[in-house]
């Protein structure tokens, strides 16, 4: 990447800048000197995935990491004020990535390597640390999705295999470290998940993560396929197990159920069987639409914000280059001066150079701050994704309910048909009677399952509702802070810049054509 050149040029630039400014003791743009040496990387990553942080976000985290505390302070105070007492707040950091070798039993030498990260947690009372690799984070995330259905669970960092190939290893590892830290902190801040057993285990329990590793869908399907023929032939009851009902079909090992629910969702779509929809769904649909609209606008603003940051940075860079050109001119005229007018001009140019270089620094600082504020937009896009997941939980729970409903309906109609047919035969029909009994048993089981499914659906709906309420409140205050921060920032730096230029205007006032 242009990293190397950029750093090199930056150091050359700084050298030249110091040439101009060494005698200038004013504070101007020198206040936060810690940030100055590291110009933010120009955002090059296309805006594709909601999950990828914009590349410009790197800059802010890097610069604040060197100072150590700003970002985390923000989090701590949030945790403190949001979810209760001091002792509840947890502070998580991810550090010290180390490369380790994959232990394989294969005969092939030179196994693959992976990185582990040190995750330290500090609560009010204690402190602990574990080493985890990314795979375990994925496991945690999947487990949370299974257990905490309906909740708006922060989305985990991507596996991003493309980036891994393209980026330098250190860069990639650093990016991942940051992403993990951000993710775990968000989990910690969640009012329910922050207190969850799953998270505690992840953060505390040494050694390999003991959470059940859910196999991927493909292998589950394959396993399920083994059972399928027996179910079809009726040898096994095609009825859903109570425990499984609480889980969406995809995570269960029940291929038949997946097919049934697929059929149901298709019939729902075609409006064949009327779904037993509850009245409040309309309200939900409205809310969902509104959120989608909001997400669209948010995405748009986030994109424009990214552009804005880029152009602000360009401005700062060009201003800096202009300043440097004048530094060179100053030096040149000073050295070659034959006439007094040249010396005067050299002095004027030096003032211009100084002003331009100061303004350039101010632009860079402004940008760093702007990124910090506008990054909230991007963060909420991630939240929108998490909300969509929570909605998906709700949809699949509803689908289960509806599947069971129509299952029941079909069972009842089969029973009825059989009863009618059987009643015609004088003295009863032994086989039919038996069948009816079987079906009635199935009805009982299915009814229990449906009660379970109903309960689950209601639970998820309530989770959705309370989460949306919580998020909405947080979003209001977050966005307000963001706006205020952005505006104060812009105004503050504009005032500093005005001071720089007014000074130059003062210094060149002899050339003014104004009568004053």
């Amino acid at each position: 990447m242009m990293n190397q050149d950029h750093v090199l040029r930056a150091s050359q630039d700084d050298e030249m800048e110091s040439l101009v400014l060494h005698d200038d003791a004013e504070n101007g743009g020198d206040s936060s000197s810690g940030n100055v040496q590291q110009p933010p990387q120009s955002p090059k990553a296309p805006f594709n995935s909601f999950l990828d942080p914009p590349s410009y976000a790197e800059a802010i985290f890097t610069s604040f990491d060197s100072n150590g505390h700003d970002q985390t302070l923000e989090n701590l105070t949030r945790a403190g004020s949001g979810s209760g007492t001091e002792s509840d707040s947890i502070h998580i950091s991810v550090s010290d990535p180390q490369e380790e070798q994959e232990v394989t039993n294969s005969l092939v030498p030179g196994g693959s390597s992976y990185h582990t990260y040190l995750i330290t947690t500090r609560t009010g009372k204690s402190e602990y640390g574990v080493r985890r690799r990314f795979r375990e984070v994925v496991t945690l995330s999947e487990r949370l999705s299974e257990v905490y259905r309906g909740y708006v669970i922060p989305v985990r960092p991507e596996k991003s295999s493309v980036e891994r190939k393209v980026m330098q290893k250190e860069e990639f590892v650093e990016q991942r470290r940051l992403a993990l830290e951000k993710y775990l902190r968000k989990l910690g801040l969640h009012p329910v998940i922050g207190k969850s057993e799953e998270l505690r285990v992840f953060l505390q329990v040494q050694g390999k993560l003991p959470l059940m590793r859910t196999t991927d869908v493909a292998s589950r399907m394959l396993d399920g396929a083994v059972r399928l023929p027996r179910q079809l032939f009726g040898a096994e009851s095609g009825v859903v197990d109570l425990n499984d009902v609480a889980q969406p079909a995809k995570s269960g090992r029940d291929l038949l159920r997946i097919f049934k629910e697929l059929k149901q969702s298709v019939s729902n779509d075609w409006g064949g069987a009327k779904p037993l929809v509850v009245e409040e769904d309309k309200e939900f649909m409205e809310k969902k639409d509104k959120l989608m609209e909001f997400e669209q606008q948010l995405s748009n603003v986030s994109q424009q914000a990214e552009s804005l940051v880029k152009f602000q940075q360009d401005m700062g860079e060009t201003m800096g280059e202009l300043g440097l050109a004048f530094v060179k001119l100053t030096k040149f005229e000073t050295e070659e001066a034959e006439f007094e007018s040249q010396r005067v001009r050299a002095a004027d140019m030096k003032n211009v150079a100084t002003a331009a270089v100061k303004a350039s620094r101010l632009y860079r600082e402004l940008n760093t701050q702007t990124i910090k504020h506008l990054d909230k937009l991007h963060e909420y896009l991630g939240t929108m994704l998490a909300i969509n997941n929570a909605f998906a939980d709700r949809s699949s729970a509803l689908l289960t309910v509806q599947t069971l409903s129509s299952e029941l309906a079909s069972l009842h109609s089969r029973i009825e048909k059989l009863e009618v047919a059987s009643s015609r035969i004088f003295g009863g029909d032994k086989s039919r009677m038996r069948k009816i009994e079987e079906l009635k048993e199935a009805v009982r089981v299915t009814e229990s399952a449906k009660i379970c499914a109903d309960r689950e659906y209601e639970r998820i709906k309530e989770n959705n509702r309370s989460e949306l309420e919580r998020i909405d409140k947080e979003r209001q205050s977050d966005f307000q802070n963001m706006l205020r921060g952005f505006v104060v920032n812009q105004a503050g730096y504009a005032e500093k810049m005005a001071a720089v230029w007014e000074k130059l205007a003062e210094e060149t006032s002899t050339y003014s054509s104004d009568s004053s």
Partner: protein
């Protein structure tokens, strides 16, 4: 706004504002105004009204208005360059390379200003203002001007002109003038220093000008970006709906206002900062042309001196053998001597003029740049204050939204 005219007149020996027409002090002031597009398609061009106010006796009356086009200015510049060797002829704005912008309002205005500055610099220059060609330019009828113009732009007129053009082309190559190829060069150390200075200066200035131009572009880009940002934020505000939504809308509106300020500053920057820098570069290039002229004059002087020596030797030889060719040879020798003296005089004039010019040039440029820097600073300060005010005015509105 930058006022080159005013500054130039301050500098010149007989300076008076064009308004006060006291007949005792001689004055000559010109304005180039009213650009009008004439002609169609590829033949289209801009014409300007050139208004001359003067009390010079050589001129026809106190005021005269003529219509001129860019190539007329070029004619004037070329004539002056030929007649006033040694003097730094004021530079002309370039013929636009990019067709698309040839008739953009901004380009036309910039060119008009530059042409105005050009003529006024000539009118303020102690020697140049006395030029007959200037009088022609400022007073001749359009038909006359057209005839002269087309006469000049014919490429192959006279063999000597061809030579001159060839030399001019050659002299643009810096290597030649810096004496890397031609053995015949002045050995004046100070002059060497000057030449080196001029060539280096051009590089530095070109770089500064390049960045100044980029800065203009950045202002435009940032302005556009703020406008887009503002629009998007307004839409977000509309979809939010509540007090927060209102805050977003206000932010969006402010962004759009600031976008306009940025575009305005871009324009100011172009006219008052970038253009003067470009003008400076052109001036340096004009000096380079004069340097080439001086080199030519020096070479000619040397060549003639050489030839004369040879002729002298030849003459002595003829005289010795009492050839009848002596008379002719003598005549030729005297002719050559006169030419040689003329060439020496030409060269020495150039040297003298240049040394005066360089001092004047440095002074003028310090002034020109000082003004440009001042305008630059004022413009940027104005912009920054505008930005700060706009954002500050938004804060109470934001407070109101959050408290509700």
């Amino acid at each position: 706004m930058v006022n080159f005219e005013g500054m130039e007149q301050q500098r010149s020996s007989s300076s008076l504002s064009p308004r006060s027409q006291s007949s005792s002090q001689p004055f000559l002031s010109v304005s180039v105004t009213d650009p009008v597009k004439l002609g169609n398609g590829v033949q289209a061009y801009i014409s300007y009204r050139v208004i001359t106010k003067t009390n010079f006796t050589e001129y026809q009356g106190p005021e005269k208005i003529v219509i001129r086009r860019y190539s007329d200015f070029v004619w004037l510049r070329d004539r002056l360059f030929e007649k006033f060797k040694g003097i730094f002829i004021p530079p002309l704005p370039e013929k636009s390379a990019v067709e698309k912008f040839r008739f953009s309002a901004e380009f036309i205005e910039m060119r008009r200003q530059a042409l105005d500055v050009f003529v006024n610099r000539i009118a303020s220059h102690h020697e140049l203002r006395q030029s007959e060609d200037l009088r022609t330019f400022l007073q001749a009828e359009e038909e006359t001007m057209e005839r002269l113009r087309s006469h000049e732009t014919g490429i192959f007129k006279k063999p000597s002109d061809l030579m001159q053009i060839f030399k001019d082309v050659q002299s643009r190559v810096s290597d030649v003038v810096l004496g890397k190829e031609k053995p015949v060069e002045e050995s004046d150390a100070e002059y060497e220093k000057l030449k080196h200075y001029i060539f280096e200066l051009e590089n530095h200035l070109a770089e500064a000008q390049k960045h100044a131009y980029r800065l203009v572009k950045r202002h435009r880009e940032l302005g556009q970006s703020l406008s887009d940002f503002g629009k998007a934020v307004k839409l977000l505000g509309a979809s939010e709906g509540n007090a927060l939504g209102k805050a977003f809308s206000e932010l969006g509106m402010k962004s759009e206002i600031l976008s306009v300020k940025l575009q305005n500053e871009a324009h100011q920057l172009l006219l008052n900062f970038e253009e003067p820098l470009k003008d400076y570069v052109r001036a340096v290039q004009s000096i380079k042309a004069t340097i080439a002229e001086r080199a030519n004059a020096f070479r000619r002087q040397c060549e003639l001196a050489e030839t004369m020596k040879l002729k002298e030797i030849n003459l002595d030889k003829l005289m010795l053998i009492r050839s009848e060719k002596v008379a002719e040879a003598e005549r030729e020798y005297h002719e050559l001597k006169a030419e040689s003296e003329q060439a020496t005089k030409t060269f020495e004039t150039i040297v003298k003029l240049m040394s005066e010019e360089i001092g004047r040039f440095q002074e003028q440029k310090t002034l020109d740049m000082g003004i440009a820097f001042h305008e630059f600073a004022k413009g940027q300060a104005r912009l920054a204050n505008g930005i700060a005010d706009a954002w500050r005015s938004l804060l109470p509105k934001l407070e109101a939204c959050s408290s509700s």
